[in-house]
């Protein structure tokens, strides 16, 4: 065993003082007396605190994260559905007009003649090339 470990072991072997013998009866008596009447200062732990007692900070942190997630989700919610729901349904007259418009369009499509071949683009005469460019180059 190295000297450091020997020193540690020497400390560890030091016997501890005993609890004064008369304390036991006094402390037990005080504890029983206090235990038999409800305390005005230390309320019993509630169901929630008992439930979350091992790591209350961790639970609180988790709850805070959920609150943030839910609030973000609520803030960035798509409101399209709400708009669609609040728009009144079209009137029967409007539906009739739309149906007639559709029939007219279909009739026009059926009666339209075969499309003729597209006109070929006219051949334009060659345009004179700019005389400026060589001048620039000469400079």
């Amino acid at each position: 065993m190295n000297p450091e470990a020997q020193f540690e072991e020497r400390l560890r072997r030091q016997p501890l003082r005993k609890v004064p013998a008369d304390w036991r009866a006094e402390i037990m008596s005080a504890a029983h007396t206090a235990g038999s009447r409800p305390s005005a200062f230390t309320p019993r732990p509630s169901l929630l605190s008992t439930l979350f007692s091992p790591h209350p900070k961790a639970w609180a942190g988790l709850a805070a994260v959920w609150v943030v997630i839910l609030s973000l989700q609520f803030a960035s919610r798509d409101r399209t559905e709400v708009v669609a729901r609040t728009t009144p349904p079209p009137s029967p007259e409007m539906l009739m007009a739309l149906r007639q418009q559709k029939l007219l369009l279909l009739a026009e499509l059926v009666e339209q003649p075969e499309p003729r071949a597209a006109d070929r683009p006219k051949a334009l005469p060659p345009r004179p090339r700019s005389q400026l460019r060589p001048q620039f180059l000469n400079i």
Partner: protein, 172 residues
């Protein structure tokens, strides 16, 4: 509750009072304060019989209660607690008395050296050496990170070694 009838409270006292008393005495350096803290723990246990129900390790849980109660007491005492480290050597020792002169000198020196440590280092050193807790258990008991527990122990032990080395070498 059935598990916390008076006999159960007495069992807890018989099994853990020695370890709790030594820890509290080493922490507060005062016998009367130690008695108050010890009594407070058992009153708390009597009032909340299911307090230990969720504890995985009874001893570690009770030491944690003792530590919290001792800190509360020292805070309540205010200025007095500031001098705990300074006058630790003059106050109560957590070690058993002996008739061997070398041991008397060594225990007195050890007690004085412990009194000079900051309370947080003294708590870790005590839990490691005399309560036999691992660093993980100490970290849980004192609600500190594992590395902090290990470093406090190392610093505390280095100071004790520096302080006790001459006497230790002499009586070895």
């Amino acid at each position: 509750m059935e598990t916390q009838m008076p006999s159960e409270l007495e069992r807890l006292y018989d099994e853990h009072a020695l370890a709790l008393f030594a820890f509290i005495l080493n922490f507060t350096r005062d016998e009367n304060d130690s008695r108050d803290v010890l009594q407070e723990i058992f009153i708390k246990l009597a009032r909340s019989p299911d307090l230990l129900a969720s504890a995985r390790d009874e001893r570690a849980f009770l030491l944690r209660l003792a530590h919290n109660a001792a800190i509360d007491l020292m805070r309540r005492r205010g200025t007095r607690s500031k001098h705990h480290g300074q006058f630790g050597a003059e106050q109560s020792s957590a070690f058993a008395p002996t008739s061997d002169p070398d041991e008397v000198a060594f225990r007195a020196a050890l007690s004085a050296a412990l009194g000079e440590l900051p309370a947080d280092q003294r708590a870790v050193v005590h839990l490691k050496l005399w309560a036999g807790l691992t660093f993980e258990e100490i970290a849980t008991t004192l609600e500190i990170p594992l590395n902090t527990a290990a470093s406090r122990y190392r610093y505390g032990l280095d100071k004790l070694r520096a302080r006790l080395r001459p006497l230790y070498d002499e009586i070895k």
